[in-house]
Amino acid sequence: MSSFENFPIDLGTLPSGEHLEFHPLQPAYKWILVINTLFFFILLIGGTVLAYVLNSEEIPSWIFYLTLAVWLIALAFRSVLMLIAFNKRGWLIRTHDVIYQKGILRYTMVTVPFTRIQHSEIRQSAVARMFGLAKVRIFTAGGMSSDLTIPGLSYEQALQLKDYLSNVIGRE
């Protein structure tokens, strides 16, 4: 039941954001996500070990092992979740807007109409370059939180997307 039944604009005739078919990201992007997660947890675990070694007299060993176990479980949980959720990630160009979706525990779908795009740019980190991947960042006037980043594109895809967006912005 919708609250919009008697709305003067017939919402049934509008293009809907539901049940869209998204383009998946490049499978190699999975590895970048894994590397990023590992890097984060290596820092975390390294820090914990260092703190224990330096203060081994004050910190009881069971606290150290417990913390370590918590990090490892968190790492396993995060990795499994990330790999399952990877298929949920996707992007899409519609007639008048660009969309990116992700997440299983917390599903989000950000949509930016072409008319509201200020500019867009291609970014490529050192790790991404090894895999031949890039991301396209789309800027709006709404500030940082409303900007849209589409990661996990092949460099050619990124170029195409950016060209397409630049074209469309000029037209609209």
Binding site: M109, T111, S146
Partner: protein, 494 residues
């Protein structure tokens, strides 16, 4: 064109200020060691004189080399005598045109004009010495150039809008505040904020006094202690009373200084806000640049029948709060008029009203109420005081969450969207749907089980409207509606 000749004085004072800022330790050394430097006094004075002359020459050259002019598509400023700078601002980039006048400028009878250029990294442009006539001429001219850009006929939804634009060639005053209003507004300001600022100032002062008297106190320690205990209670009462009075006075003076003679007026689609006693300011804002319109009240303000208004303007930087334009108090009965001038309707007539699911309350209560109490319970379950404070806290959070849930609503018609929120105070946010920048649909796995979802609407100016915990169906419908409005609109949004 050059600025008024009085600009030389301003440039000079600015230069002196920068100089003092940079070299104040040196000047301090001279003042303290006055006697030691007696023999070379002459040279010191000569030195200062030389610096003054140099600064004056600098001021004159700065003035001589500062030009502004109207080019075909842009407003151009050229300045600098050592390093020449040319700043060009396309007319369509100009967000709003503001003027300011501080005390010195009031004496010199000149004004500062500022151009806000949002959406670009370009620094905002200032012309600091314009005569009143030149300033208003400049404002008019810039507005004219801007409007000629938009001469192509825009699709207008409301035919009244067109008529009104043509008829209103004169300035129409929408709102004026007199000193009586300002005093009431001052009373209903947030005194906690003022009190904290004051407390910080005074506690620094008191600790200094204590240092001075501590030696003296030691001699009479016992007497003093007895006396202090007796006097303590009375003292505390006095201090609280004193603070309250000071805080209220402080707010009142601040409000009167900032908003003296406030007038809010409309000329066609241009809105103008003027206010200030020592620092006179004027903001000119076209309707298209206003992204979000919000107003709120607190219980005291409600009692006095006032609301606070705020215009959120497009900003290049999200943290840039100064883009927002504030009217500290509007008599509640004037709100209909203000609304009509802004949106052509006296109040928002909703066709659909969305309210959050009761899970929204549960979430608030869990995170702010239950979770902290449970964490505290691990450490303090054996103390009776924990149970007292804990249950009090749960009650407080429970009641505020319930009030929040009851108040929270999103009202929608075919043009506008209005959000209402608050537990004790009330906040209303109103905007044109087509001004939304991007839309985010959110659904956590917990929300999915309840068949609810949330939307976030982002606007230029960094302001976001949250639509929390509505049914999944409604969330999608609103999502589709907003995007349709944005994508089918050809109106200027910035």
């Amino acid at each position: 064109m050059r600025q008024s000749i009085q600009g030389v004085v301003l440039f000079f004072l600015n230069a002196v200020r920068t100089f003092i800022k940079a070299f104040w330790p040196l000047i301090l050394v001279y003042v303290i060691n006055n006697e030691k430097l007696e023999p070379i006094k002459l040279y010191v004075f000569l030195g200062f004189g030389l610096i003054a002359v140099l600064l004056a020459i600098h001021a004159f050259l700065t003035y001589r080399n500062f030009y502004y002019q109207f080019a075909e598509n842009e407003f151009v400023i050229t300045k600098g005598y050592l390093k020449k700078v040319r700043i060009a601002i396309p007319y369509e980039r100009i967000q709003s045109i503001n003027t300011k006048q501080n005390l010195i400028q009031q004496v010199l009878k000149v004004q500062t004009m500022e151009l806000d250029t949002a959406g670009s990294s370009q620094k905002e442009v200032q012309i600091i010495a314009l005569s009143a006539e030149n300033a208003s001429m400049l404002v008019e001219q810039l507005n004219q150039y801007k409007s000629t850009l938009n001469t192509e006929p825009l699709p207008v939804d409301n035919p009244d809008e067109m008529v009104q634009e043509k008829v209103q060639e004169f300035e129409k005053v929408i709102l004026k505040l007199d000193v009586g209003d300002l005093i009431k507004i001052g009373i209903s300001e947030n005194h906690l904020k003022s009190a904290i600022i004051l407390l910080a100032l005074i506690s620094g002062f008191i600790s200094q006094i204590q240092d001075i008297f501590s030696g003296f106190m030691n001699n009479y320690e016992e007497d003093v202690e007895n006396y202090m205990v007796e006097a303590g209670v009375i003292m505390v009462a006095y201090i609280i009373f004193f603070f309250l009075i000071i805080a209220i006075l402080y707010s009142m003076i601040r409000v009167i200084l900032m908003y003296f003679n406030l007038s809010f007026s409309k000329n066609g689609t241009l809105f103008r806000l003027k206010a200030g006693l020592l620092n006179k300011k004027q903001w000119t804002l076209p309707y298209t640049k206003i992204q979000v319109f919000l107003w709120n009240t607190n219980p005291v303000r409600k009692l006095l029948d006032f609301v606070t208004l705020q215009f959120v303007m497009a900003a290049s930087n999200q943290n840039d709060k100064k883009q927002n334009i504030l009217i500290p108090g509007v008599p509640a009965k004037k709100m209909e008029l203000v609304m009509e001038e802004l949106f052509l309707v006296t109040h928002m007539e909703p066709i659909v009203t969305l309210r959050p699911h009761r899970v929204y309350f549960v979430r608030f209560f869990m995170i702010l109420g239950l979770l902290p109490v449970m964490i505290a319970a691990v450490f303090a379950y054996s103390e009776w005081i924990f149970w007292a404070i804990g249950s009090g806290w749960l009650l407080l959070i429970g009641v505020t969450s319930l009030l929040k849930l009851k108040r929270r609503s999103i009202r929608i018609n075919e043009r506008l969207i209005q959000s209402e929120s608050g537990a004790v105070g009330e906040e209303y946010v109103l905007m044109e749907q087509y001004k939304v920048q991007s839309v985010k649909f959110i659904q956590t796995f917990l929300q999915r089980r309840r068949k609810v979802a949330s939307l976030v609407l982002y606007t230029a100016g960094g302001f976001t409207i949250h639509v929390p915990y509505v049914s999944t169906r409604d969330a999608w419908d609103l999502y589709n509606l907003i995007l349709f409005q944005v994508e089918s609109s050809h109106k200027d949004w910035m």
